[in-house]
């Protein structure tokens, strides 16, 4: 494994009963970058994380984390990773400080070192005021932060975060993003799984889209958006009667199918010439006497990418 590769997996397969959770996944993460593993529920994201963190043995395939074989040297892998699972695994009856102190001790630190490190992380994750309160009094966002802090106690080379913002309210989500952003700025290698396209777009350098245990696309957020085609021109008109005219005009200007949201009187089409197409559309609609309420030109979102790759939306349970 080259030294600039922090994580590598080859042809991972894992079957549970008749379900093929992983159907030959390959992945590679360059040291110091963030890989976003994006997919709907049941796509195999958690299974992949569990294999890379030595919690689960694959049926076939191999994987290395921080230079160590996951199957042959699990304890060396465990020394190099920090895991934050799907549900904040904090002990509710222990205080925030005690939770981190315990994790430090279990990573093999002596008492003074574990104490110093726990205090550092408590301050860094803005839990100072709550440090001596049992974790059961914490909000969802605070628990998540404490759990993330637990993954960082030993300053691991590779951090694995399984759906770090699932179940959080918008505020908790923003707080968590901020923390992950800081982590990345410090140079950690991160594997992050998410169902939220926005999250992968925000945090990941490279995105691996998986569905039914297979990788269906890979690249940067920009590359993936590029694959779906050009920008989308969107026109909102004021009268229902104007929708048909708008549809006709946009069909002539754009490429591909025109989509109409009748309820919002919103008409969309993919265009190749960007701003030029927009100006042309407005001019023609003006000639036709259509009152344009709102107009927009936007690059495809990852939602568009996912829909075009899989034929179903991310929220849909496969």
């Amino acid at each position: 494994m080259p030294t600039d590769t922090a994580v590598r997996a080859e042809a991972l397969v894992k079957t549970f009963g008749s379900t093929r959770a992983l159907d030959g996944i390959d992945l590679e993460i360059t040291t110091g970058t963030v890989l976003g593993l994006l997919g709907p529920n049941g796509a195999g994201k958690t299974t992949a994380v569990r294999i890379l963190t030595t919690l689960l043995r694959p049926d076939s395939g191999r994987a290395w984390v921080a230079g160590h074989d996951v199957l042959a040297e699990p304890n060396l892998v465990r020394k190099s990773i920090g895991l934050s699972g799907q549900y904040a695994a904090v002990d509710e009856n222990l205080t925030g400080f005690e939770n981190l102190y315990m994790v430090g001790r279990l990573y093999g630190m002596n008492k003074p070192d574990a104490r110093t490190r726990a205090t550092e992380l408590i301050n860094r994750f803005r839990l100072t005021d709550a440090a001596s309160r049992p974790a059961k009094t914490y909000s969802g966002g605070m628990r998540r932060r404490l759990d993330l802090a637990g993954a960082l106690v030993a300053e691991p080379a590779v951090v694995l975060l399984d759906e770090p913002t699932t179940g959080l309210d918008p505020r908790g989500r923003l707080e968590t993003w901020e923390v992950i952003g800081e982590l990345v700025a410090d140079g950690a290698t991160v594997l992050l799984t998410t169902q939220y396209l926005e999250e992968a777009d925000q945090l990941a350098d490279t995105i691996l889209v998986i569905d039914h245990g297979r990788v269906i696309a890979t690249g940067t957020a920009d590359q993936l958006k590029g694959e779906v085609g050009g920008e989308r021109l969107e026109i909102v008109v004021s009268e229902q009667s104007e929708v048909d005219t708008t549809k006709r005009v946009l069909a002539e200007i754009g490429t591909g199918e025109v989509t109409v949201d009748q309820h919002g009187r919103r008409v969309q089409v993919v265009v190749e010439a960007g701003a030029k197409s927009l100006v042309e559309a407005l001019r023609r609609l003006d000639v036709e006497g259509v009152t344009v309420l709102d107009v927009g030109l936007h690059r495809p979102t990852l939602d568009d990418v996912f829909l075009s790759l899989t034929g179903h939306a991310t929220e849909e349970d496969s």
Partner: protein
């Protein structure tokens, strides 16, 4: 660091965490402190009068000691199952810690809870008229035997806890199997009046041997008219009690650790 040394070091840290949990969780504390008192008083005064009065109370205490120590294995069952459900076991398994530590920490913290329960029950027993009539050393040995047997039962509990699909199931499964094994013994009545097959089970039940050993060591005789258990296990009660505890440990420790290595979160 050798495997065993690391297991003991990490196990101590997990035990510390478990004991903080017991101290801060009122329900657990109630179960650990109030339940033993309740058992002593209930059995002593509800059954006591009918079965031989103060003689029966003295006979009874050893049975309750063993029953409570064994029932404390339910803490192991519920504790492990709840850690599993909350993803805490996943975190532990992703750490470079001993594979033995979580189970050893759990069973030893429950040993501490059992010791506490034994102190409370002994005080309670003294109040209802029970006395240690044997030598000091015999009494110490009786308590050690009780703890060894409780420790062994906790390892059975560890396997039950790791195999339970949910905390609710663990709660009933953790206690249910204990009722027949405790009651088909000489804990509360002499085995002599039980029908043949049941009597054979009671005579060979390790519970009976532990209870008989403790009674012998404390010098507590059976009330008149209640025949003490017979047969080889009764004649070699202490040997049989120690041996069966060790056999339970030898079987359930490796089984539980193997289960822990593969266990998945719910």
């Amino acid at each position: 660091m050798t495997v065993l040394a690391q297991g003991l070091r990490d196990g101590r840290i997990v035990a510390w965490r478990n004991l903080l949990n017991v101290r801060r969780n009122t329900e657990w504390l109630m179960a650990a402190v109030v339940q033993p008192i309740m058992f002593v008083l209930l059995f002593a005064y509800v059954f006591g009068g009918a079965l031989g009065g103060s003689d029966y109370r003295e006979f009874l205490i050893a049975g309750i000691f063993v029953q409570t120590t064994a029932f404390n294995s339910a803490f192991t069952v519920i504790g492990l199952c709840s850690d599993l459900q909350k993803g805490i076991i996943d975190r532990f398994r992703s750490l470079p810690m001993s594979r033995l530590a979580v189970l050893l920490g759990r069973t030893t913290s429950d040993l501490v809870v059992s010791s506490m329960a034994l102190v409370i029950m002994s005080l309670c027993g003294l109040v209802v008229g029970w006395r240690i009539r044997g030598s000091f050393l015999d009494a110490v040995f009786a308590y050690l035997l009780l703890l060894l047997f409780g420790f062994a039962m906790s390892w059975v509990g560890a396997l039950v806890g790791l195999s339970s699909p949910s905390v609710e199931v663990a709660q009933s499964a953790g206690l249910m199997w204990l009722f027949p094994v405790t009651f088909i013994s000489s804990a509360f009545v002499g085995a002599g009046t039980m029908p043949g097959p049941l009597r054979a089970i009671a005579e060979w039940n390790p519970f009976t041997a532990v209870i008989q050993s403790v009674r012998d060591l404390f010098g507590n005789d059976a009330p008149p008219g209640m025949a003490p258990p017979a047969g080889w296990p009764a004649e070699h009660a202490i040997l049989y009690a120690v041996l069966s505890s060790l056999v339970i440990l030898a079987v359930f420790m490796p089984l539980s650790v193997a289960k822990y290595r593969r266990v998945a979160s719910k």
